[in-house]
Amino acid sequence: MSLARADMAARPILEVSGLSLAFGGLRALSDVSFTVPEEAITAVIGPNGAGKTSLFNTISGFYRPQAGSIIFAGENLQGVRAPQRAARGLARTFQNIALFRGMTVLDNIKLGRHAHMRTGVLDALLYWGRAQKEELELRAEIEERIIDFLEIQHIRDAAVGTLSYGLQKRVELARALAMRPRILMLDEPVAGMNREETEDMARFILDVKEEWGVTILMVEHDMGMVMDISDHVVVLNFGQVIASGTPREVQGNEAVIAAYLGSGDVGEIARRIKAEAA
C-alpha cells in the first residue's frame, strides 16, 4: 500500500483534466480526469463503448475535445496537431493494426523515426552526405536496439501483409519505439492473441518500461494481463472515470464490479440511462 502511495506521488507526465468529447448528441467522454505517472504502466479499462479509444484518439490529436485539457510533459496540447504531438514523443499503436501492408517490416519501423530526421528533398535526391549518414545511423540503431530487442530479425525484409497477427502487433510496437517515445499509448496490444503471444507481449511491454524508461498508457480487455503488469488502472464507463488506483484497489471497487457484471439496483440502471441520454 505504501509503495502504491509513493508511485501515485510520482511526477505525472500526462495530465488529463475535465476532458469532454461529444459527437452530436452522443457523449463519448464526459469530464474525464486522470494522471499518468512517469515510467509506470497505466491501464485504461472499461466495457465496450466506454470511450477508451475515443480517449486515445483525443490524446493523439484526432478529435478536438469540447472541454478540458491535456498536459503532456508540462505543455498544454491544445491546438497542437497530431503530427507535432508525435514529434514531441507521443507514440501510439492502434486497435486494428495500422501498419503499411505493402512495405517491408524494416521500412515500417524506419517510418517511426520520420519526425526526428532532417533529410530534405535535395539531400534525398542526391543521397549524399546528410541523407546517407542519417539513413545508415537509423538502420544501425533499428537493427541493434529495436529489431534485436523485439526478436524480429527473421522477418525484417518480409512484407508486413504476409505476417501473422501477433507478429504484426510486434512490428507496430517496434515502429512506435522507433519514434523515440516519451509515452507509449497501446490500444489493445494483446487483443486476439493466444496465451503464448500474450505473455510475449506482456514481457515486451514490461521490458520497454524497465529498459527504455518509457511511460506506458494502454487500453486492454485482457484483465489477467492488466492486473499482472499495470501499476495503475483507470476504469471508464459511459465516458466517465468510475474508479482509479492500483489493480488491487480497482478489483475490489463496487462501481467497477457493477460496470462489468451489471447490478440488480434499478436506481443504478435508471441513473445510467439518464447519463447516456444527457
Binding site: S60, F62, R81, A82, P83, Q84, A86, A87, R92, F94, A98, L99, F100, R101, G102, M103, D107, K110, L111, G112, R113, H114, A115, M117, T119, G120, V121, D123, A124, L125, L126, Y127, A131, Q132, E134, E135, L136, R139, A140, E143, R175, M179
Partner: protein
Amino acid sequence: MRIGTLKTSYGADEALFDSSVQRGLLVLLALGAVAFPFVASPYWLFLACLCAINVASATGLNLLTGYTGLVSLGQAAFMSVGAYAVAVLEIRLGTPFLLNLLIGAALAAVIGILVGIPSLRVKGLYLAIATIAASVILHFLFSHWSLTGEARGLSMPPASLFGYVIDQPFTLYWLIMPVTCLMVLGAANLLRTRIGRAFIAIRDRDISAEVLGIPLLRYKLTSFAISSFYAGLAGGLWAYFFRVVTPESFPLVNSIFYLAAIIVGGMGTILGGILGAVFMTLVPELLKFAANWLTPIYPDALAALAPVRTIVFGGLIVGFLIFEPRGLAEIWRRVRRFFHLWPFRT
C-alpha cells in the same frame, strides 16, 4: 545462380544495387547506351530520345500517383509549362540551355504545388478532375497569351553549348539521355529516404501517417512539386527536341498516356515507370514494322492495318491490366527470382 547475398555493413545492405550480378548488368546497360548512338540510325536515335523524355515524365508521375497515391491527369500540362518556359527563355533571352531547363522545371513545380492544394481535401477521381481543370486552364492561357505565341505556338532555336549547336538526334541524345538517367537515379534515391517512405505511408494509410509525425499537406504538395518538376524538365527536353511548341503539343490524351504507362509498367516501382514509358512509346512503332513486313505478302497491309494497330495496342494495355495488374516490373521480378535459384531449382 545467386543463392544468397552476404553483406557485412548496413551501407551495403541499403545500396540501390545490392548484388554483383545487378551491378554487372548495369555496367553492360550503360555501355550499350553509350555505344547506341554510334550504331543506330537517326530514326532509332529519335525513338530513343522520345523514350527517354517519356521515361523522365512517367517517373515523375509515378512518384505522385504510384507512390503517393494521388491520381493526376495533369502531367502533360505540367510538361507544357516547362516546354513553353524553355521556348520563351531561349527566344527572348537566349540564356544557357541548362539554366532554361531548370527554370522551366522550377516553374512547373510551382504550378504543380498550386494544382496540388486541393489534394488535402479531395482524393482519387475527384483529384483527377481537379487536375484536368488545371490542364484546361493552362491550355487556354497558352493559346491566348501573346508571350506564348497564342494558337500558332512558338518555334525556337536549338540549344547550343559554347557555339556548338545541339540539333541532331545524335547530339540531342547526349543531352537527353544523361538528364533522364540522373532524374531516374534521383527518384530512386528519394525513395530510400524518409521522404519516399512518407509518400508511401500517405498512399497506404494517411491517418496512421499523421500519427507518425508526417504532416499530410506538406508531403502531398512536396510530391506534387517533385512530380511536376520532373514533368517540366521532360517538357523542356521535349521543346529542345522538337523545337516547336504549340498549344496542341501537350493534349490531355498525353496525360492519359503517362498514366497508362505507369499502370502498364507497374505503379509504385521505379522500374515500372521506365518499362511502361518505353513500352508505350515503342509498341506502336514496332506494330508499324510488323505491318511493313507484311507488305510483300499483302500489298495494302500498311493502309489496312493502320486501324488494327491501334486496336492491337489497346488490346495489349487491356491484356496487361487483366493478366499482369502489377505491370511489367512484376514480370521482371519473377524472371529475376527464377534465375536466383537456377539451375538448382526452378
